[in-house]
Symmetry: C2
Subunit: 450 residues, 2 copies
């Protein structure tokens, strides 16, 4: 075997990803050394509890609770603890002691990325984070390097496996959200507290990271508009299917020519949207992820794969470790993040897209004229209208006394709009909700990818 330079690798965290990373580092050491041009010596694994049970059997002598001592003298530090602290303190300690760092910590990067990248720039270290955006799917290097000479116009990503699993099953089985969620929890696809996934927090962190890379701009997490999927019900799914769509939780990162600023700006948003069935993203099933990228020169690209999972994510982490080792051997300083474009992030109100608005209306003559008038006044142009008798009401048994015998019948009005400004649309929906002829606003969904 070639006598390679030895690099000291410290691992922080031995959860589902960390234990797989340690296992692969130990089992494939010779092969990884050949690829990296350096021997990767796992110096230790810092954990809170040395005796906790792990997914993989690992030599007990590698474990320590003393992360700070482990970091000292390491060439590469892999942070897989998750959470903001003490992860950030350790990462900064590693950077300042001259190590290159590898992390899968999307919460930390989305929240404190600029501080971490600045610290690395100061000392010429590199920060690698392929596992932080879409699990095992290589998307960081394509955005950061391969597309660095192009202009990304738009990214639409399915970047959260749990919500895609839930929505996909709701679509395929005609099931209700709560039932599928409970099942997903039982099967391990969703956590006991599913908030981070179903409310879109996880996807918003990834959206901030993807948008920062795609638009060469630091995108703070609080600039990402976020909506979850807990309000999506069977009726909305059925209506979407009927209209040729599927509902997906999307992270949308978009370059805008903003009329207000007379310059370019970007929008970064996470919400459930109607995606046409023939769009490549509509075929992303189960817990898989996919990132659809539209670039000025390259055209349409799609990256598809497993979005989560211990061993899958470990693949992305180890790719970063090999890259870090190669850079150590090659010399030179780390290439910092490219954020000099500094594009402003516009609020959700500036976004322009198509909408599908479903209203429950009195089934009386003149209702459509009234509704159309409100939309027109609100600068929202109608592309399609479909009127259906509300199934719920028409199929309900007539219970005497429950409804006034003289009440007007009720119908559903499904309105597809042309591209409209979100602020105009939402003000218009408020006026519709307040109108005499509208019983209830059933749903408002954006259409993406059409």
């Amino acid at each position: 075997m070639t006598d390679y330079r030895r690099l000291r690798v410290a691992l922080l965290g031995a959860g589902s990803v960390g234990s797989q990373v340690a296992d692969l580092l130990l089992r494939h050491g010779d092969e990884l050394a050949d690829r990296a041009g350096a021997s990767l010596e796992l110096a230790g694994i810092a954990v809170r509890d040395v005796d906790a049970s792990r997914d993989v059997d690992l030599p007990r002598e590698l474990f320590t609770t003393d992360a700070e001592t482990l970091i000292v003298g390491s060439d590469i530090v892999i942070e897989l603890m998750g959470g903001l602290e003490p992860a950030q303190t350790y990462l900064l300690q590693a950077i300042n002691s001259g190590a290159d760092v590898v992390t899968a910590n999307k919460a930390l990067l989305a929240t404190h990325g600029p501080e971490i990248f600045d610290a690395a720039d100061q000392v010429g270290a590199s920060v690698y984070y392929e596992a932080a955006a879409a699990g095992a799917i290589p998307i960081i290097r394509p955005l950061r390097d391969s597309l660095a000479g192009d202009r990304v116009q738009r990214i639409m990503g399915i970047v959260n496996g749990t919500t895609n699993y839930i929505l996909d099953r709701m679509d395929a089985e005609g099931a209700e959200f709560a039932d599928v969620l409970a099942d997903a929890q039982a099967l391990g696809y969703a956590e006991a507290d599913p908030t981070a996934d179903v409310e879109g927090y996880d996807a918003a962190q990834k959206a901030a990271i993807l948008a920062s890379l795609a638009f060469h701009t630091s995108v703070p997490l609080d600039a990402v508009h976020r909506e979850g999927i807990t309000h999506i019900d069977k009726a909305m799914m059925d209506a979407a299917r009927h209209a040729g769509f599927v509902i997906k939780l999307l992270a949308v990162c978009e370059r805008l020519a903003d009329a207000d600023t007379a310059g370019e700006s970007i929008s970064v948003r996470v919400y459930p949207a109607l995606v046409p069935r023939e769009h490549p993203l509509a075929s992303v099933h189960g817990a898989n992820n996919a990132v659809f990228v539209q670039a000025e020169a390259a055209g349409d690209l799609m990256f598809y794969g497993a979005g989560a999972g211990g061993v899958q994510t470990a693949s992305a982490v180890l790719g970063d470790v090999v890259s870090a080792a190669r850079r150590h051997i090659a010399g030179g300083v780390g290439v910092g993040e490219s954020t000099r474009a500094n594009l402003p992030v516009v609020p959700i109100g500036h976004v322009v897209t198509r909408y599908q608005v479903t209203l429950e209306v009195s089934d009386l003559p003149g209702v459509l004229a009234t509704v159309a008038g409100i939309l027109s006044d609100g600068k929202v142009s109608i592309a399609t209208v479909e009127q259906t008798v509300s199934e719920d009401l028409s199929t309900a048994p007539a219970v005497p006394g429950e409804r006034d015998e003289t009440s007007t019948p009720v119908a559903h009005l499904v309105i597809g709009t042309h591209r409209a400004r979100e602020q105009d649309l939402s003000e218009t929906v408020e006026r519709l909700a307040a109108s005499d002829v509208v019983e209830r606003v059933v749903s408002v969904l954006r259409v993406e990818g059409d």
Copy 2:
């Protein structure tokens, strides 16, 4: 504007890709400088004929016929001339004069890659070639870096847009190869001499590059088994559709546990294969490309996009230029190719896959038993058999005298095999062809992705 260090960029070639690269470099100079951290000064464009017409209007003073003088003193040299010579001489001159080089020249890399990479290693230069494998699709960095910590098991790529366009139209329209090829030539999807595409030479070059990266092994072009699509006809397409498949020209790069060598080996091959309709590669339409990667830890990944086109390929070239500029600024030496795995490439005879063999046989009792016996003797196990009366013969008008009135009727036998060794299969097919009961071997197709 920030005062960046200036890097001198030389461009060799101004064809469909080169002219777009020059145009984007000139138009997006400030933006690219912000991303690269260096100002990219296009010093000149070397061409054979300064006065030739170009796809894009470019300043006449940039053109020169003297490539050698242009290269001197350049920091980054972009080679987009194509062909082996003088491209190789200029690339080596650039490397030896201290430049980093960017190339989209798949023929050159597949043929003389090792010499070029060695030359770069000697002087610490880098060779970038994202545009050489699948046009605008970022696949080089994912294989070279993102998956460097994983073990790629298998790649199946649709890496030639022309043949995918032809096969996709044959499938969709039930058209014959020659008709679609003529139309593709008229529309500019195929060249006047389509040999490089339809005979699989272009795909074989890309397969050699992808396999070298995926398996960390120098794969010489002549180790790639290559078959084209000129023999694919409407009847084969119809039969494939009937059986739930579509025919695609695939570049397959596979890691094998080779019983003969008691170690690992690889197979690299290009041929038209039956792909199940539900496989993601079956949905790649028109001239698009896609690379499906199966890795031990990461699982299934797919990369999709435009495989060719001047401006699309220019996107990949410019990404490389920005990467080269960043490395120049960061210092250090180039990271060489990872080829230390040195896995042997096995000949096609060692490949194990499923096959679909279509025979024209005499429609007599005992024929199936005879055919099954020959397969069994040849160590080829049958998974499915379907017998159909040959359409051509049954619908042909009865022309007296053209066929012997007493001749045996003829049927088609479609045999799906279990996984078999190619050598066993081909020897068995020879014996079938020589058998009395077999009139004709209609087709032999491998099944991939099932």
